[in-house]
């Protein structure tokens, strides 16, 4: 049963290789069945022999498909992220879209001016000065010299490289290089912007500037394709995301979901190595008494209808129930600032696991990860092995000391080997995180609203910004002419 305020968001998942053809007439970019096969040539001349002699039945080199059967449409103002592990074909896809790499099969139809920032460097000639490179890039994009001259000051200002603009770019630091490249690529009125990893080099201020610039471009109808390893960037910036794995499109759809799928793909090899002990006669050896859980479990009509919500799972578990209630266990999706929200959720195990980890993630309407916490961080007592068929229930409460606004939440289940769980406290985060295997996630499964408190004491709005943080303040009068902060 669904009640107002909490609904499963509509999802426009399309399976790989069969993107809907609807609306392709309005698409700026239409990618159809693109594939790139590399022949691994032992020597460069074999590439030439292949080109000249293949029609006589002579083949040189070995086949390797870097990308296969990828299709999607890109509409004006749309922002698509491309994610995947190293070597999954992301850069190949962008290079083909940019026209620098010929596809082996399929076609790309492009409308308007395509501007690309591919990996590091873009189309700069290291021997030329920054100024010369700006003009040459303008000419490559088919812009008149006058047009580039009009934009030149804006480009130089954005790049913030001062007098280095008249130095050969080989003398630039990587940061200066990418700043200028980004400034050029985005300033020369593109209709389609392709950005590959480039922003990783810049500092945080530059990255923020870049995202602002891309948002401006979007407002003008420019479509953006962004390749990034930063999943937070993808979730915040992109409307949709394409997940590639070993050259294949594994998922194409809403960005948070794509990111969850990415984590599954990423952990695939690890999951194969995770120890699974076949539990003894008892289905679950648990330190939690089953009765305690049922005691605080809300009535059946409090639960959300999650039958249509996408579950991103590796097949080892599925979510079977989910409820969101206020402090008094009344279901609802609107909370006053600082109110307590109670989440109740249940996972059914489809595979034996050792230590389960369950948790909730809150995201703002802009895709910012506001809060994520689970049984691991809470130090909740958990069973050390769970057999397939068992249903795990979790009750979790979160005080919503948040800014007023709309939020989405996701629930997830993961697992950790018993051995790792017992020493989790001694492991650094970087060592622990890769040992956690994700089992089932429901990205943005529901949403809720945080509203102003009905009556405010001392004032209605208790804090500004995203989150309320614990702290206190004291004010007192200092004696005249005595200042604690005075350096003298």
């Amino acid at each position: 049963m669904t009640h107002s305020g909490v609904t499963a968001p509509a999802h426009d998942e399309t399976t790989a290789g069969s993107a809907s053809a609807s609306g392709s007439s309005a698409a700026l970019v239409s990618v159809r069945g693109i594939g790139k096969m590399y022949r691994i040539y032992d020597q460069p001349q074999d590439r030439l022999k292949q080109m000249l002699l293949h029609r006589f039945g002579r083949w040189y080199g070995r086949d390797f498909w870097a990308l296969r059967d990828v299709s999607f449409d890109l509409h004006p103002g749309e922002r698509i992220g491309v994610i995947g592990r190293n070597g999954s074909g992301k850069s190949t896809l962008l290079q083909i879209m940019a026209g620098t790499l010929a596809p082996t099969e399929g076609e790309v139809r492009l409308q308007g001016r395509v501007s690309a920032l591919l990996e590091l460097g873009s189309g700069f000639n290291p021997e030329f000065t920054g100024r010369e490179n700006v003009f040459i890039n303008g000419a490559i994009l088919g812009l008149s010299r006058q047009h580039v001259e009009e934009r030149f000051d804006e480009i130089a200002a954005f790049a913030e490289i001062g007098q280095f603009i008249d130095q050969p770019v080989k003398l630039y630091s990587s940061g200066m290089f990418v700043r200028l490249a980004f400034a050029v690529t985005t300033s020369l009125s593109p209709d389609v912007l392709l950005v590959d990893e480039a922003l990783a080099v810049g500092d945080v201020f530059f990255r923020q500037k870049c995202y602002r610039r891309m948002t401006e471009l979007r407002a003008r109808g420019c479509a953006v394709v962004l390749v990034s390893h930063s999943m937070a960037d993808i979730e915040q910036f992109c409307d949709r995301a394409l997940l590639l794995d070993r050259g294949r499109a594994v998922f194409f759809g809403n960005a948070p979901q794509a990111v969850k799928h990415y984590y599954l793909v990423e952990q695939n090899e690890r999951a194969a190595n995770i120890p699974v002990t076949v539990p003894s006669d008892r289905p679950a050896r648990s330190s939690i008494a089953a009765e305690t859980t049922t005691a605080s479990w809300p009535a059946p009509d409090a639960f959300l209808d999650i039958s249509g919500a996408p579950q991103v799972s590796n097949g080892w578990a599925r979510c079977t129930a989910l409820a969101m209630c206020d402090a008094d266990n009344n279901p609802g999706g609107a909370f006053e600032q600082g109110a307590l929200a109670r989440f109740y959720y249940e996972f059914e195990l489809l595979h034996d696991i050792q230590v389960p980890i369950a948790g909730i993630v809150l995201q703002s309407d802009r895709g910012v990860l506001v809060h994520g916490k689970g049984t691991l961080e809470h130090g909740t007592s958990v069973p050390t092995e769970v057999a397939a068929g068992t249903r795990l229930r979790v009750a979790q409460s979160i005080r919503l000391d948040l800014a007023v606004g709309e939020y989405t939440f996701e629930v997830g289940l993961a697992t950790l080997a018993r051995e790792d769980y017992t020493r989790a406290g001694t492991l650094a985060y970087a060592d622990l995180a890769p040992r956690i295997v994700r089992l089932c996630h429901l990205p943005a499964v529901g949403r809720f609203t945080v509203v102003f408190r009905s009556q405010g004491q001392p004032v209605q709005l208790l804090h500004h910004g995203v989150a309320d943080l614990p702290g206190e303040s004291v004010m007192f009068l200092a004696a005249a002419r005595e200042s604690a902060g005075d350096p003298r």
Binding site: Y41, Q45, Q95, T100
Partner: protein, 284 residues
């Protein structure tokens, strides 16, 4: 709004064999050609103290040493020369040298031309065919400087500028077409075969002696004249000299045939380049 279609289907060589398409393409890229030619010229002496001075010094020193070796040591003279003066021998030799230098400069740059700009191959859709044109442009610019030196020297020595100079551009046309075509062909080949640079250096060296630069064609034993006559640079060098020093006008029919022949070489060089350029990104 311009529309582009990127497909896997290879486009045929025939499409690129259209001279009108070639001219249209280069005309559209004239801005880039201009920019790269200027860079090519400036870039060469960019960080040197003498800068453009080298454009004068290099040919001058070469001229003096060749004049010494052939004119003084071997006592060679041009048949039919107005005077027996050493200076005249040097100038005639220089005229041939200027023409040949255009050719050799282009060819020596060709093999590394594409390999040297990986960013333009892999990162942007760059009209790579522009680079060969700018190399030729730079070579022609330097030839023009040398030619100015030559004409000035000739004017001082003989007191006149020949009216036959007006057909020098026509005499130079086969040289331009040939150099451009071979630069396109070799710059593409150099991407796949790294040996091209060495082979070209050798061939240029041989051609230098198989072209009548230091000697008149007539002095070659008639049995050996055939290989020199089929060398496309031979008529270029001869017509250069006739035009500059007021000789008989060129054999127009022969010149026309050479223009057609070198024009064909250029078209095939261009078509080859355009056909193979799709594969550059795979190997650079």
């Amino acid at each position: 709004m311009r529309t582009a279609l990127i497909t896997a289907s290879p486009d045929g060589v025939v499409r690129h064999l259209n001279p009108a398409a070639l001219i249209r393409n280069l005309w559209q890229q004239r801005g880039l050609i201009g920019q790269f030619t200027r860079r090519e010229i400036e870039g060469r002496y960019r960080s040197s103290v003498l800068g453009f001075g080298w454009s004068f010094i290099t040919p001058l020193v070469l001229l003096l040493s060749y004049t010494f070796v052939f004119g003084v040591v071997f006592k060679a003279r041009w048949p039919g020369a107005r005077t027996e003066r050493l200076s005249e021998f040097g100038l005639v030799l220089f005229a041939g040298l200027i023409a040949f230098t255009v050719f050799s400069e282009c060819l020596q740059r060709a093999s590394g031309l594409i390999v040297g700009v990986p960013n333009y191959v892999k990162r942007v859709v760059f009209p790579l065919e522009v680079l060969a044109v700018s190399v030729l442009g730079s070579a022609l610019f330097h030839a023009a400087i040398s030619l100015t030196v030559l004409l000035a020297a000739n004017a001082v020595l003989t007191g006149r500028i020949e009216p036959s100079l007006v057909w020098l551009p026509l005499a130079a046309l086969p040289l331009v077409l040939l150099s451009l075509g071979l630069t396109w062909f070799l710059s593409s080949l150099g991407v796949f075969l790294r040996d091209v640079g060495y082979v070209v250096a050798l061939i240029v060296q041989v051609l230098f002696f198989v072209t009548p630069i230091f000697y008149p064609l007539e002095q070659v034993p008639s049995s050996l004249q055939t290989p020199i006559r089929i060398n496309p640079l031979t008529p270029v060098v001869q017509n250069f000299r006739r035009s500059i020093f007021g000789g008989a006008p060129p054999d127009w029919i022969e010149l026309l045939l050479w223009i057609v022949a070198t024009g064909t070489i250029m078209m095939f060089g261009y078509a080859w380049f355009m056909k193979t350029k799709k594969a550059f990104a795979d190997v650079v």
